[in-house]
């Protein structure tokens, strides 16, 4: 293997594994910046993965090549509906954010498998026929060196995720909506005083995270696992949560952290094909994202990184 093909292999598999993390971590960024802690991302991803696979299996013959992309949208909508539970519980019903998020994580896998059993009469679906394969950008792929590494046989959802993260960064930091959303996460009392609808903004934050988390799960299902079972989403949601923290609650930071975690994940899988990494036990790469997240939290202590009112219920007084 020459250097370019080694780099191409690393970059493309990093992109494949990063894409679901980027979408989901971006969702976490929006929820937590509105002030609602969302550890239910794992459950939301599970519902996204479930619905995307069911949609893909049902409509692959109708929509052909467009099926996985429509599956993303379906996964996003189902994720959004599922996150409504968390929104209602935390915003209107004064529930503890961690307990409510845990309920999403407890609820999603059995619900998904129950529905799979009810629909298909078995615990695991067939493999989908229309999945996200490798994609080459016409034109860009022909650029020497850079082309083969970044634009040939790469992951289209990952490039979409990177573009979306830039867009979401712009919305969060450069628009009125973003400022209002962040103000509800920093100081909801003050935001309310200024006439901002805190409940509305927090709903927006949680539902956006549901939509993006659902997409994240759908990407994982349609690009990596190819089917749905109880073990489709195991830990990716928590890893996205870790990426959000490593990225310091910022969309671009979350995207870069997801790329790094995607790299660590892909190395633990393709490592034995690579000359240098084949000597490192896979366990180090598997636990790297989690260890790094703890280190980041420890190192950044003192500098406030999380939104100030993240995880606190805001009860509007009469």
């Amino acid at each position: 293997m020459n250097l370019v093909s080694i780099l191409a292999l690393i970059v493309s598999s990093t992109f494949v594994y990063s894409a679901p993390l980027i979408f989901t971590a971006l969702g976490g960024v929006y929820s937590e910046n509105s002030g609602i802690t969302n550890i239910g991302l794992e459950g939301i991803m599970t519902m996204g993965a479930f619905s995307a696979i069911v949609f893909n299996l049902t409509f692959a013959s109708t929509f052909g090549k467009a099926t996985p992309w429509l599956g993303l949208f379906v996964g996003g909508i189902v994720g959004l509906l599922f996150s409504l539970l968390h929104a209602v519980a935390t915003i209107n019903f004064h529930a503890d954010h961690i307990i409510s998020g845990t309920v999403l994580n407890l609820m999603a896998p059995p619900l998904g498998v129950f529905l799979i059993k009810a629909i298909y009469d078995k615990g695991q679906t067939e493999n989908i026929t229309q999945s996200f394969g490798y994609f080459s950008f016409p034109g860009l792929a022909n650029i020497p060196v850079i082309g083969p590494i970044f634009f040939q046989n790469t992951s289209a959802p990952a490039w979409l995720a990177i573009i979306v993260s830039i867009l979401l960064w712009w919305i969060l930091y450069k628009t009125r909506f973003g400022l209002r959303l962040r103000s509800c996460g920093e100081n909801p009392q003050a935001a309310d005083t200024l006439g901002i609808n805190v409940y509305g903004m927090r709903y927006a934050g949680v539902l956006i995270s549901g939509f993006l988390g659902g997409i994240g799960g759908a990407v994982f299902a349609e690009a990596i696992s190819g089917n749905f079972s109880v073990s489709t989403i195991v830990g990716q949601g928590f890893m996205a949560l870790a990426a959000m923290i490593f990225g310091k609650w910022n969309p671009l930071g979350a995207m870069l952290a997801s790329l790094f975690f995607g790299f660590a994940q892909s190395i633990s899988i393709i490592g034995n094909q690579l000359p240098f990494f084949s000597h490192i036990p896979a366990v180090y790469m598997q636990i790297a994202p989690y260890v790094i997240t703890i280190l980041v939290l420890v190192l950044f202590f003192g500098k406030s990184v999380a939104p100030a009112a993240d995880g606190q219920n805001y009860i509007k007084s009469k």
């Binding site: 409510s100 845990t102 498998v113 830990g235 928590f238 636990i287």
Partner: protein, 381 residues
């Protein structure tokens, strides 16, 4: 609107949550045209209808009691220990390892040694999160989640790469432990129709009593409770926040580790590679939340969830309804426990008789009601 006393309300909220959870399960079954009555009937009859079912139900409840106590201790001190699965897993693997590595040690030494190792392993795993919290103020929810995965992958590695070959059947399963390290009691198993019920349940009952005694009758328990209720006031009173964080997390992890120990030395008699976080961790969390952190509540909630889980297996074979409905019902129950503020609105708090007598004739009559109702709300946030 029903008028009840504060005490009755405390009992009514979980009861309503349980009923609502069952209704959610029934609605989902109806949508997919399963018969919920048949489902619940077959569930309860297979969990409680014969000695084997009862034995298995008690066996299922045993580790949940430990992990629930673990969660409850940390949560009383104000920490959300979501790392129960990792702590239990550490207890499970380490206790099995100790037993397998010492095949000729007499039971009186080996069994306590293995149990203690498991407790220490769980405490160590939780202690890391406690230390980070005490020393650096790192959020324990995040660290314990992350540590769950670190433990999960480390155990896979230890099992596949580090454990000596003669202790394993293959890279994913250890050998079955010998009788000198087992919690199995033959007469107990045969009494309950050859189920896997084991000595763990006796340890669990002792643990429930210890938990009640620790929290209600000792200075340590009082400090843990007061730190959880009002950290600032406790500091003023001279209680060390750092000490209590460490102590409650170590105790919490120790109990969770013990949950893993009874799973290993009692239920399975071996260790096999886990690919997801341990169920007993998440279920223990649910048990503690439903039981409201009280000793008796934990005992009852662990039995209820075990009836559901063991009965669910029977329901699947008898009524042909997917087992997953059980986990959906459990998650729904916890959802209703989480939104107990709303359930509480169904019942109006009535002044307790004792309070009424005390306050009669005094000016502060109305104030007392306010205090008691704010207390009720304070517990929910």
């Amino acid at each position: 609107m029903l008028k009840v006393t504060l005490k009755t309300k405390k009992i009514l909220v979980p009861v309503v949550s349980i009923l609502a959870g069952f209704i959610v399960g029934a609605v989902i079954m109806l949508i997919w045209s399963y018969n919920p009555f048949q489902a619940y009937a077959s569930m309860f009859s297979s969990a409680l209808g014969n000695m084997n079912g009862i034995g298995e139900t008690i066996r299922e409840a045993t580790p949940l009691i430990f992990t629930a106590i673990g969660f409850a201790i940390a949560s009383t001190a104000g920490f959300f220990n979501i790392g129960l699965p990792g702590q239990a897993q550490a207890g499970w693997l380490s206790s099995i390892w100790v037993v397998l590595a010492n095949p000729h040690m007499p039971k009186v030494i080996l069994l306590p040694l293995a149990v203690l190792t498991g407790i220490l392993a769980g405490a160590l795993v939780a202690g890391v999160a406690g230390w980070l919290r005490a020393q650096f103020g790192t959020n324990e929810v995040i660290t314990t989640i992350m540590i769950n995965y670190i433990v999960l992958y480390s155990c896979q590695y230890l099992m596949q790469q580090v454990m000596p070959g003669q202790l394993r059947v293959d890279t994913d399963t250890t050998k079955t432990i010998a009788a000198n390290g087992s919690l199995k009691i033959d007469w107990l198993s045969s009494m309950f129709g050859d189920s896997r019920i084991n000595a763990g349940i006796f340890i669990a009952l002792v643990a429930v009593f210890l938990y009640w005694y620790l929290m209600r009758k000792t200075t340590t328990g009082f400090e843990i409770r007061s730190v959880g209720t009002n950290a600032a006031a406790s500091r003023y009173a001279g209680m060390s926040a750092k000490k209590n964080i460490m102590l409650s997390m170590l105790l919490s992890g120790g109990f969770a580790g013990l949950g893993g120990v009874v799973q290993g030395l009692g239920t399975y008699q071996n260790y096999f590679t886990q690919t997801t976080s341990l169920d007993i961790g998440w279920d223990g969390l649910s048990v503690a939340l439903l039981g409201g952190g009280t000793a008796i509540g934990i005992l009852l909630a662990s039995l209820l969830f075990s009836i559901l889980k063991i009965g669910g297996l029977g329901m699947q074979t008898i009524a042909g309804i997917p087992y997953e409905i059980v986990s959906i019902v459990i998650a729904a129950i916890i959802f209703f426990v989480a939104i107990q503020y709303v359930i509480g609105l169904l019942f109006k708090t009535k002044k307790a008789k004792a309070i009424q007598e005390q306050t009669e004739g005094t000016e502060k009559k109305s104030e007392n009601v306010v205090v008691s109702s704010t207390k009720a709300q304070g517990g929910q946030n």
